[in-house]
């Protein structure tokens, strides 16, 4: 008796033996699959149609600045199977492009747009990659990249503060 999680790992490994870098069961209800970036669309279609992963949960990017890579993670929940799959892929940091998955999961529309805005990852085939959360006149780098440094927390000089407070 194999659990749903193991079944997912098995079937994805048999279907895409070449393109899957790693597929494992993390814990109960969690499966992690990492794929090559050019095959993510096919794997996504397979996950949706064959395995019933139909409910997109989030799209997130992680900036691994040490290895000069972005990781993009699609977390998809299966409403019937009650398993969450993390479909992850790594793309180079200097040319971050990825095929958009909104044809697979339509709900990823705003998630992908946000990821584009925050990390500068271009999603090919996305109809509207424009600024969503940031102000319209934003011209800085994508803010969630690790090389975008926040200014130090505005902490006024001690003397100034005491002077304003009228203390000694």
């Amino acid at each position: 008796m194999t659990s749903m999680e193991e079944k997912v790992v098995e079937s994805i490994k048999t279907r895409f033996p070449e393109d899957i870098i790693e597929a494992k069961v993390q814990r109960k209800n969690r499966v992690s699959i990492s794929v090559r970036s050019d095959k993510i669309y096919d794997v996504g279609l397979f996950l949706r149609d064959e395995l019933g992963f139909n409910h997109i949960t989030s799209v997130s990017g992680v900036d691994y600045i040490d290895t000069k890579e972005f990781e993009v993670i699609y977390n998809v929940w299966a409403i019937d199977g009650k398993v969450l799959v993390s479909l992850r892929t790594k793309i180079p940091r200097d040319n971050p492009t990825l095929k958009s998955l909104i044809k697979v999961w339509e709900g990823a529309f705003y998630h992908e747009r946000e990821t584009w805005e925050m990390f500068g990852i271009k999603f090919e085939g996305h109809p509207n990659l424009s600024l969503l959360l940031l102000p319209e006149d934003w011209d800085g780098p994508p803010p969630l990249r690790k090389d975008f440094l926040l200014p130090d927390t505005p902490q006024e000089k001690l003397e100034e503060k005491i002077k304003r407070a009228g203390g000694q």
Partner: protein, 144 residues
Amino acid sequence: MVVDIIRPFFIGLYHAFKRTFTVKHPFVRLKPTERYRGRVMLNIDRCISCRSCTNICPNMALEMVKFEKKLVPQYDAGRCCLCNLCVEVCPSMALSMVHEVEFSEYTRKGLIYPPDRFSQPPKPITEKTLTVKILDKKRGVAHG
């Protein structure tokens, strides 16, 4: 259908003669509950200048200043988010949360509490006060 249209009329009319929920605030004040976190207060004698509070404060509302040859925190109520982290982390129990309800000031400067003001207890509420329990009795909520 006609009943559903007319019934709200009578329910509304009935409620017009019930007691109001609102407290007439400037004339009557509501007493905060025991655990209410109004602002932070410092006990200067107990402070051991360990800087735990300034390190943990997420918003940098506390800052160490020199006061009577001793380093003690100064408090900025405008930055404070009343999260209680500093009170929990203080090893000598010098910080505590007090019941201050109204601490609006006319200037930003007034919100900065230097150590001497920081260690003052808040003004007690002098006007007529109501507790939640009395209020509930009036509202007819929790009968007792």
